[in-house]
Symmetry: C2
Subunit: 212 residues, 2 copies
């Protein structure tokens, strides 16, 4: 999270741009009796941190964003790839009983089901497995493809999707996890999993300023 | 979330206190050629928002907190009572089969088990129920008290506990939900439930500035 303490010179630059923007780097340097080169790092920091924006042939202007806005802006930028967990997959040919065993062994709440070429074909939640297990059938003899959620009813995400969009999807669809997929010509490759646990961790990290 | 846009006079006050603090309200008023009474609302706002602190017989001083710090301070102050969901309870006398049906009917991932006086005695997760359902016993004939997590192994929280402490507990204990309880002389009354879904919603609300 960009939690920036400006130094005195940077604060002065912000004040000057606030009062006179749009203003060129040269004009700012003049006002501070410094060279343009000396100011270059400060201007770069202020622009990257979102205090100022630079427009070619116009100059710098003040964005008017408070630290708070910049902070939620940062939160809005978080991407799946930085927070995803390892996916646990089972083959479409295994039985419901084997899927339940895998779920306990791997200690996850959601399994992704893949075909013989390892492409995503289904999702199994703890709820799906529980529903089946109270039925009267033999769990060893039911293949997972009978009970899994299948395409096109699976909600997926990609590595560069925004964490907030995934959080919204988890809530709206009332599910615990999404598969993170990579598009290939043959189908969707499962490369990660993102869950409400990841979201809870992000909340904790966010409050302890651990996200950068 | 306190996302405060200061007006010009408030900005001036902050500048004066930054430069001269600790400083009394009267001295600030003098510098601005205003009366103490005129400034009272501004000083109250600046103090409540965390820009300034007031110490009796000393005056106002600048806290040096950035908006970002104030924002995470706000997040750290969130309490369970403002975000908890309704708890779903079952009696300790019901069967595992009935508990599973309740879980599906109410569409929750965690049930709280209460005794005949309605005090908390156990917790049942979807995982507990799934584990039991793949056993060879008749689910209708197993009472929940055989398989539930029981005191003192239940992690509970109270209404005025901090959301962040609960989020940490959910992660550390690897559970999906905590009961929110009220202490009585006879035992713990279950008055709410707080889950990773609540945490995911808080994250979304936080980014869309909906938390106040």
């Amino acid at each position: 999270m960009s939690k920036i303490e400006l130094n005195k010179r940077q604060e002065k630059i912000v004040e000057i741009v606030k009062a006179n923007g749009p203003i060129t780097g040269e004009q700012i340097a003049d006002q501070l009796h410094l060279t343009r080169a000396t100011l270059r790092p400060d201007l770069a920091i202020l622009t990257m941190a979102g205090f100022l924006e630079a427009r070619p042939r116009v100059g710098y202007y003040y964005t008017g964003k408070t630290d708070t806005q910049r902070l939620t802006d940062e939160l809005k930028k978080l991407q799946v790839k930085d927070f995803q967990s390892i996916p646990i997959v089972v083959s479409v040919n295994v039985s419901v009983y084997d899927a339940i065993c895998t779920m306990f062994l791997e200690d996850v709440g959601t399994l992704f089901v893949v075909d013989n070429q390892s492409y995503l074909v289904g999702v199994l939640s703890r709820k799906d497995l529980l529903r089946t297990s109270i039925g009267k059938q033999e769990l060893e003899s039911i293949p997972v493809n009978i009970i899994m959620t299948r395409m096109p009813n699976i909600t997926v995400c990609r590595q560069d999707d925004l964490i907030l969009d995934v959080a919204n999807a988890l809530i709206e669809k009332q599910i615990d996890a999404l598969p993170v997929v990579k598009d290939t010509e043959m189908g969707l490759e499962v490369i990660g999993r993102i869950t409400k646990t990841n979201m809870t961790k992000i909340l904790v990290d966010f409050a302890s300023d651990d996200i950068s």
